[in-house]
C-alpha cells in the first residue's frame, strides 16, 4: 500500500525557479527526498549529481550519510545494506559504472530493496566513450529494476521524487532507475521549477519498511534458495513488477494535484490520426516531436509515442496506440549484437505480434557513442519508413547517421 497523503496544490509563490542541468536537478530532488544514505562512486556524466549532493552535505543542508565507496559494485552493495535496515536510499551511475553494479542490481531487485538509481545514460567501452547512448541501462533491462527515461531537466527532477514513492509502495518494493541522456541532459541547463522541501516531505512521507533487519525481531535476508524455492521468489518478483503501473498511476495523480504536472508511462503526441508513429524516448523524444510538428505543417500524418517506462513495458497500451498506424519508426540508441533486432524494437514487435493487422515496424539504430541525432536523421528514418511501406517490407533494423 502506498501511504495516502493529502497532496495540495503548491502555491506559485512557493515554487523556486532555477536554471539547472539535468544532474543538478536530480541532486536537488535527492536533497529534498530526505535520503538516509546515498552511496556513490564518481563516473562521467553522473558526477555532478554526487558533487552537488556532497556540497549540500558539507553545508549541513541534508540529513543524509554519504558513503563515498571505492567502486560502483560497492555503491549498490552499501545501498542494499542501508535499505535492508529500513533507510531511504539512493545512488547514481552511468555506463561502465552501471556495468560494474550489474551483479548487485539483481540482488537489489530480488531482495525487494526500493533503492532509486539515477542513470546518466552513456555508451559502454570499447572504445572508451563518455557520450550518450542507451546501451548501459538497456543492458540492465532484465535486472528487475523499474526503468523510466526522462526528456527534460524538469521531468528528471519530478520523476526522481516520484520514483521513491513508487519504489517504496508496499505493493511494489522494487528498485527504480531514473534515466537521463548523458551530456545532452545531464550537462544542459534548463528552467526547473522546484517544490518547497516540505511539500516533497509531505508527498513522500517517511519510508515504512516491511521487514527490516532489526535486532528486536531477527530475520535472515538473502538466504540460499535451491530448486525447491528459487522459482517462487522469481514469481513474486514478477507479481511486484505487474503491480507497478497501478501504483505509478496513483503516485502521478498525487503529484499532479501538487504540481499540475504528470507524465504517464508514455507521452502521446499527435498520434491519433498518425499514419507513421515515431517511437523513441529520452531527449530523442523532444527532437521527434519537433520533427512531427514540421511534417504535420506539410500535411504529413506523423505522430510520436515517447516512451517513459521501459520496465515494466506498457504492452497493452502501446499495442492500442500503435494498432491504427501504418508504420512505427523506432529510433533507439543501442545495438543488441547478434540479435534479430534491438531492445526497443524487439519489445514493440512482441507487443504487436498478436494483432491481426499489424503496423510495419522499422527499427533505426541512431546516436551510438553520442553521435548527434538531429531532426534530419529522424526525417531520414521517416522517408525510409515510407519507402518500406511502399515496398511492403522493412529490414529488421538499420543504422542511421553512421559512415559506412
Amino acid at each position: 500500500m502506498s501511504k495516502v497523503t493529502s497532496a495540495k496544490r503548491v502555491p506559485a509563490e512557493q515554487i523556486t525557479i532555477e536554471g539547472l542541468t539535468g544532474d543538478a536537478a536530480i541532486a536537488h530532488a535527492l536533497k529534498q527526498c530526505d535520503l538516509d544514505v546515498l552511496a556513490a562512486y564518481p563516473i562521467t556524466p553522473q558526477t555532478i549529481i554526487v558533487e552537488d549532493f556532497q556540497k549540500f552535505v558539507a553545508n549541513g543542508e541534508v540529513d543524509t550519510r554519504v558513503i563515498p565507496v571505492e567502486s560502483e559494485h560497492s555503491a549498490m552493495s552499501a545501498c542494499i545494506g542501508a535499505s535492508a535496515v529500513g533507510g531511504r536510499v539512493g545512488t547514481a551511475t552511468a555506463s561502465a559504472g552501471l556495468a560494474l553494479m550489474w551483479e548487485i542490481l539483481y540482488c537489489a531487485a530480488s531482495m525487494r530493496m526500493p533503492i532509486v538509481l539515477n542513470v546518466a545514460n552513456r555508451a559502454l567501452s570499447a572504445p572508451i566513450n563518455i557520450h550518450n547512448d542507451w546501451s548501459d541501462s538497456y543492458g540492465a533491462r532484465d535486472s528487475g529494476f523499474i526503468q523510466i527515461y526522462t526528456q527534460s531537466c524538469q521531468e528528471a527532477y519530478d520523476t526522481t521524487i516520484m520514483a521513491f514513492k513508487l519504489a517504496e509502495d508496499h505493493d511494489v518494493l522494487l528498485p527504480a532507475m531514473v534515466c537521463i541522456d548523458g551530456f545532452i541532459l545531464s550537462h544542459n541547463v534548463e528552467r526547473v521549477e522546484m517544490l518547497p522541501t516540505e511539500a516533497v516531505h509531505d508527498f513522500l512521507g517517511t519510508r515504512e519498511p516491511v521487514l527490516p533487519l532489526n535486532p528486536d525481531d531477527p530475520i535472515t535476508m538473502g538466504p540460499l534458495a535451491l530448486t525447491d524455492y528459487y522459482f517462487e521468489f522469481k514469481e513474486q518478483q514478477d507479481e511486484a513488477m505487474k503491480n507497478v503501473p497501478k501504483a505509478f498511476k496513483k503516485v502521478e495523480e498525487e503529484f499532479e494535484k501538487m504540481t499540475g504536472r504528470s507524465y504517464g508511462m508514455y507521452e502521446e503526441y499527435k498520434t491519433e490520426d498518425a499514419e507513421i508513429i515515431i517511437l523513441t524516448h529520452s531527449t530523442t523524444g523532444g527532437t521527434a516531436k519537433a520533427v512531427a510538428d514540421t511534417l504535420r505543417e506539410k500535411g504529413e500524418k506523423v505522430g510520436v509515442l515517447r516512451l517513459r517506462m521501459f520496465r515494466p513495458f506498457p504492452t497493452e497500451e502501446i499495442r492500442e496506440i500503435l494498432a491504427g498506424a501504418k508504420a512505427v519508426a523506432v529510433f533507439e540508441k543501442c545495438r543488441s549484437f547478434g540479435a534479430a533486432s534491438n531492445p526497443l524494437a524487439l519489445e514493440v514487435r512482441t507487443a504487436l505480434y498478436d494483432l491481426d493487422e499489424r503496423p510495419m515496424v522499422a527499427d533505426f539504430v541512431v546516436g551510438l557513442g553520442g553521435r548527434d541525432v538531429p531532426p534530419t536523421t529522424i526525417v531520414d528514418g521517416i522517408r525510409k519508413t515510407e519507402e518500406y511501406l511502399e515496398k511492403g517490407e522493412a529490414p529488421l533494423y538499420e543504422t542511421l547517421g553512421v559512415r559506412k
Binding site: D36, V37, A78, A84, V85, P223
Partner: protein, 313 residues
C-alpha cells in the same frame, strides 16, 4: 576489560543446531565463539561461502540474530551501508536501539581475494564495524580451489601436487598485516582452540571505535583431507607450528604477541601440522622434501620477523 569472561560465556547462542555445515568444520565453532563475545544488538553481513549457504538454506535459518547476505565480494560494503543507515536513522528518531554492532564475515576467498576491494574501502572510510575472516585456506565451498589465503605446499583442485608442482608454490597473503596497514584501531589473529583469547579479542574488536579485523584459522576436514575429530587439535597446531601465530596489531603499529604464541619456547616443526592433513601428503615424498624445507624456512623467517615487530612487555 569491563565485562568478565564468565558473563560473556552466559550469552545466548547465536547459531542454532541443525545447520548443514560439515562434521568437524570449525566455522560454526568460530561463529559461536563470536556469539559469546557480542555485547548487545548485532547485525551480521555475510559474504557468500560455506557458512552462508549451509546456515541459511531457505526456508530454514540457523541464525538467531539479524543476518544478511548479498554477494561474494561485498560483505564490507553491505556492512558500511547498514552501519551508516542505522546511525542516521537513530539521529532522526527512527531507530530504537541505542547501539547496534555490525559484523561482517567472509571466508578467505571472500576476504583475501574477491572481497578485498570492498574490505579495504570500508576500512579507509573508517566505518565502525568488525570484519571476521574464517580462513580455511581455499575456496572450499566451490570445491577446494586455491585462494590468496592458501598456504604454500597446499594441494587444491587449482594447485595440484604432481611431478612438476608441489601444490601451491606461492606464499600466503599476509592479510592481517595488510589490513592493519590501513591504520585501523585493531586487528588480531585467533584460533578456535584458544577460545579465551578468541572471545577476548573479539570483544576488544567490538569495543574499539572504528573498524576492527579478526583473522580466524578455520580447519576444513573436507578440503584439508583431515579427520573431522582433529579440527580443534589442528587449530592448536597451526599456532604451535607458527603457521598461524596469534598476535594483535593496535592502530596499525603496535604489535603484541598473544599469550598462546608468547608461551612457545620454540615452534614445533611444520610436519606436526601437515602430517594429519592429506592436502600436504605429497610434501612427505622425496620429490618434494626440499619444498617442505623451504616452507619451514619461510615460517621460521616470518616468526622471527613477527617477534621482532612485537612490543617487549
Amino acid at each position: 576489560m569491563a565485562t568478565k569472561l564468565k558473563d560473556m560465556l552466559e550469552t545466548d547462542e547465536i547459531l542454532s543446531s541443525g545447520h548443514r555445515m560439515c562434521a568437524g568444520c570449525a566455522a560454526p565453532v568460530i561463529v559461536r565463539l563470536m556469539g559469546q563475545a557480542l555485547r548487545g544488538p548485532t547485525i551480521v553481513c555475510e559474504a557468500t561461502g560455506c557458512l552462508e549457504v549451509a546456515t541459511t538454506i531457505y526456508p530454514y535459518t540457523a541464525w538467531k540474530i539479524p543476518w544478511i547476505h548479498v554477494a561474494f565480494e561485498n560483505a564490507s560494503a553491505v556492512a558500511s551501508g547498514a552501519f551508516e543507515a542505522i546511525e542516521v536513522m537513530r539521529e532522526k528518531g527512527r531507530y530504537k536501539d541505542e547501539h547496534v554492532d555490525v559484523v561482517a564475515i567472509g571466508g578467505d576467498g571472500g576476504t583475501f581475494d574477491i572481497g578485498f576491494g570492498s574490505l579495504s574501502g570500508a576500512l579507509e572510510r573508517d566505518h565502525d564495524f568488525v570484519y571476521m575472516v574464517y580462513d580455511n585456506g581455499a575456496y572450499q565451498n566451490t570445491g577446494i580451489q586455491r585462494s590468496g589465503g592458501t598456504f604454500p605446499g597446499q594441494e587444491t583442485t587449482t594447485s595440484w601436487a604432481g611431478s612438476e608442482l608441489p601444490g601451491k608454490t606461492q606464499r600466503k597473503k599476509p592479510i592481517t598485516e595488510i589490513v592493519a596497514a590501513h591504520k585501523i584501531p585493531y586487528a588480531a589473529t585467533v584460533s578456535p582452540y584458544y577460545w579465551r583469547d578468541f572471545i577476548k579479542k573479539f570483544r576488544k574488536a567490538l569495543e574499539v571505535d572504528g573498524p576492527a579485523f579478526i583473522h580466524a584459522i578455520s580447519p576444513c576436514p573436507r578440503g584439508w583431507r583431515s579427520e573431522s575429530s582433529k579440527s580443534i587439535e589442528l587449530s592448536k597446531l597451526a599456532v604451535e607450528t607458527g603457521m598461524h601465530p596469534l598476535y594483535e596489531i593496535v592502530n596499525g603499529e603496535e604489535y603484541n604477541l598473544s599469550t598462546p604464541s608468547k608461551r612457545l619456547k620454540e615452534l614445533k616443526p611444520i610436519e606436526e601440522y601437515m602430517k594429519p592433513q592429506g592436502q600436504f601428503k605429497h610434501l612427505f615424498t622425496d620429490r618434494w622434501e626440499d619444498f617442505r624445507e623451504q616452507i619451514q624456512e619461510w615460517v621460521n623467517e616470518d616468526w622471527e620477523l613477527l617477534k621482532k615487530k612485537c612490543t617487549e612487555e
